[in-house]
Amino acid sequence: MLDIRNLHVKIADEDKQILNGLTLKVHRGEVAAIMGPNGSGKSTLSYVIAGKPDYEVTDGEVLLDGVNILEMAPDARAAAGLFLAFQYPMEIPGVATMTFLKAAMNAQRKQRGQAELTTPDFIKRVNKAAELLGIPKDMLRRPLNVGFSGGEKKRMEILQMTLLEPKMSIMDETDSGLDIDALKIVAEGVNARRDPAHAFLVITHYQRLLDYIKPDTVHVMSRGQIVKTGGAELALELEANGYRDYQSAA
């Protein structure tokens, strides 16, 4: 589903190279995990896939279902089924979460040529998803992410992921800041949609999340490259030994 080939990325304004020929494939139905030391470029990779403007791709390509998405605007990529759960979700003052959700859902529907959701349909969907994630209704009336706790922000990302029904979801450290109950709920959400129509790329530092979402593949990232790929057992090995074996590889 997601095919990243020889990706080279630098900061647009500076000469700082962050991704150095990164190659990675995520197949339909696959849950892939990326682990790697701080600053190795994991978030950068997720931003570049989603189309954040601060980065410049100097070489390589990113294909989503065979289509190179690097020339597409972020909103077009979203409409094509790409979702990024941010490591640091943004606050939007004055905009009620409900308003934001409706705007986002309808914007994607519009781009896909679908009719807008009716208000009752929308409310039904939101209430159902919010209940599953243990998000209280009054939170949906508050401005998006403003004053939300770290864990609440992460839950809100998953709520959006659930409602937008992307085919390719990238989760950047969604587990950091989540309590055990929320972690299980998030894992359930991912596991429930583990089917050939969906794929997940899960960025994490901790084995704990992978206990609940058993990854099909684990990639180790260091200095802007994937330096090792293995199965779920690779995460356990990293948990035990840390990254020292991989630090010099790049």
Binding site: E56, P74, A78, I92, G94, V95, A103, A107
Partner: protein, 490 residues
């Protein structure tokens, strides 16, 4: 950065075609010669068949104006105005004042219809629930062409008419109150207005009456090279209430036009006036050619105890805005409010704010100002909060937020605070933020286009002010704000 470059390019490409009210109405007009002399003042007064005291008042203002100079302290710049190159009076040709709508030039009725302001009562009645009815005074260049629902309002004892009619029908009321809030010599433009004001609205709400519907005035400048000098006077007697709204638009023209209005509000004991403005004068083109100079003096006098005046303004138009709706909190326990959204784009210059003058005991005021600057515009909030020696326990809360879109615009905050009593509590908060690329990216990752994302963020920014507007107008204002910002992001 690519996105920022794109933003700059887009802003450079801003086109006035976004201005949806720029059409010109072809009406035969009656105009005296250009320029301003004592004869012009006499002409205007005579055309309106005014009482002698009114003419004397005007002439006095004119004499004083000649000795005054234009204020230069505002953060705006424009070439010198040639006051002799302006028409001071322009009225649609007809024999006397129209007695009914049938006598009004259909082209004018059409113009208002295009602007979304129906003037035929039957049409309004057909489309609107009684509680949502709005009475309209339609001012076209220098004259009021019609005021709707006058008869129905009269039943409640409310007087709502043009100031010209008020001078004929209730001269004693006009004489008693005009110039008592904004004195003739208050400032250069107010003095000019006092000499040559042509029309505007007059509202009188008698004791204990809650005005049964929203009142509004719709100002339209149509004629070329013509100044509009409107004068509005609203009096709310003891225990009465009125909500009033003004709207303004003008055709798209290459030369600048002057709009110098004076608005005076007076509230007696326990009375309340809520005054809302949606100002959308033609802002000029992308290079700053054309547009209205909006030099306006608006002031409310909370004369009575526990009375309240609240100004809400949504300012999206004009090449230059120079405007400080203020409250004199004279009555003990009176309250002044100022809620403002000022949007500037292209080459617009805004210098706006408020003055809250606390004179009485236990007076309170609240200022919420939201400035949004895009393009190459400059947006200044200028405010004064003062408490007199006798204004014990005066309280003010001020919040001024500025939002910048792109990096070629400017936002400035100039708050003055003066307190002569130690018991006053003045709180001031101010923030300046940019719509960050990160916020935009976050919204776009969820599927919103850059434009929709900006509109959403801007709406969030101005929400607490929009909530102050009467429901129907809040929706209009929201649309207007997004239209004004169209093309400001990539």
């Amino acid at each position: 950065m690519p996105a920022v470059q794109e933003t700059i390019d887009q802003v450079k490409a801003i086109d006035v075609s976004e201005y949806k009210y720029g059409f010109i109405t072809d009406v035969e007009m009656e105009k005296p010669a250009k320029g301003l002399t004592e004869a012009t003042v006499r002409y205007i007064s005579a055309r309106k068949n005014e009482p002698a005291w009114m003419l004397d008042w005007r002439l006095d203002a004119f004499r004083r104006w000649k000795t005054m100079t234009e204020p230069t302290w505002a953060r705006v710049s424009y070439p010198e105005i040639d006051f002799q190159d302006i028409y001071y009076y322009a009225a649609p040709k007809m024999n006397g004042a129209p007695k009914s709508l049938d006598e009004v030039d259909p082209a004018i009725l059409d113009a208002y219809k295009k602007l979304g302001i129906p003037l035929r009562e039957q049409e309004i009645l057909a489309g609107v629930e009684p509680q949502n009815r709005v009475a309209v005074d339609a001012v076209f260049d220098s004259v009021s062409v019609v005021t709707t629902f006058r008869a129905e309002l009269a039943k409640a004892g409310v007087i709502f008419c043009s100031i010209s009619d008020a001078l004929q029908e209730h001269p004693e009321l006009v004489r008693k109150y005009i110039g008592t809030v904004v004195p003739v010599t208050d400032n250069y433009y107010a003095t000019l207005n006092s000499a040559v004001f042509t029309d505007g609205s007059f509202v009188f709400i008698p004791k204990g009456v809650r005005c049964p519907m929203e009142l509004s005035t719709y100002f339209r400048i149509n004629e070329k090279n013509t100044g509009q000098f409107e004068r509005t006077l609203i009096i709310a007697e003891e225990g009465s209430y009125v909500s009033y709204l003004e709207g303004c638009t003008a055709p798209q023209r290459d030369e600048n036009q002057l709009h110098a209005a004076v608005v005076e509000l007076i509230t007696m004991d326990n009375a309340e006036i809520k005054y809302s403005t949606v100002q959308n004068w033609y802002p000029g083109d992308a290079n700053g050619k054309g547009g209205i100079y909006n030099f306006v003096t608006k002031r409310g006098d909370c004369r009575g105890k526990n009375s309240k005046i609240s100004w809400t303004q949504v300012e999206t138009g004009s090449a230059i805005t120079w405007k400080y709706p203020s409250c004199i909190l004279r009555g003990d326990g009176s309250r002044g409010e100022f809620y403002s959204i000022a949007v500037s784009n292209g080459m617009q210059q805004v210098d706006s704010g408020t003055k809250m003058i606390h004179l009485g005991k236990n007076t309170t005021s609240r200022i919420i100002s939201k400035g949004i600057s895009a393009g190459r515009s400059q947006n200044t909030y200028r405010g004064l909060v003062s408490a007199h020696r006798k204004a014990t326990n005066a309280r003010n809360f001020t919040n001024c937020d500025s939002l910048l879109i792109g990096n070629q615009c400017g936002a400035h905050t100039v708050p003055y605070i003066e307190s002569k009593t130690s018991t006053a509590t003045f709180e001031h908060e101010a923030t300046t933020s940019k719509i960050s690329e990160d916020q935009l990216f976050y919204c776009m990752q969820r599927g919103l286009s850059a434009e929709d994302a900006t509109a959403l963020i801007v709406n969030g920014f101005v929400k607490d002010v929009l909530q102050q507007l009467p429901m129907e107008f809040a929706v209009e204002a929201q649309k207007l704000i997004s239209i004004s910002l169209e093309g400001s992001v990539g």
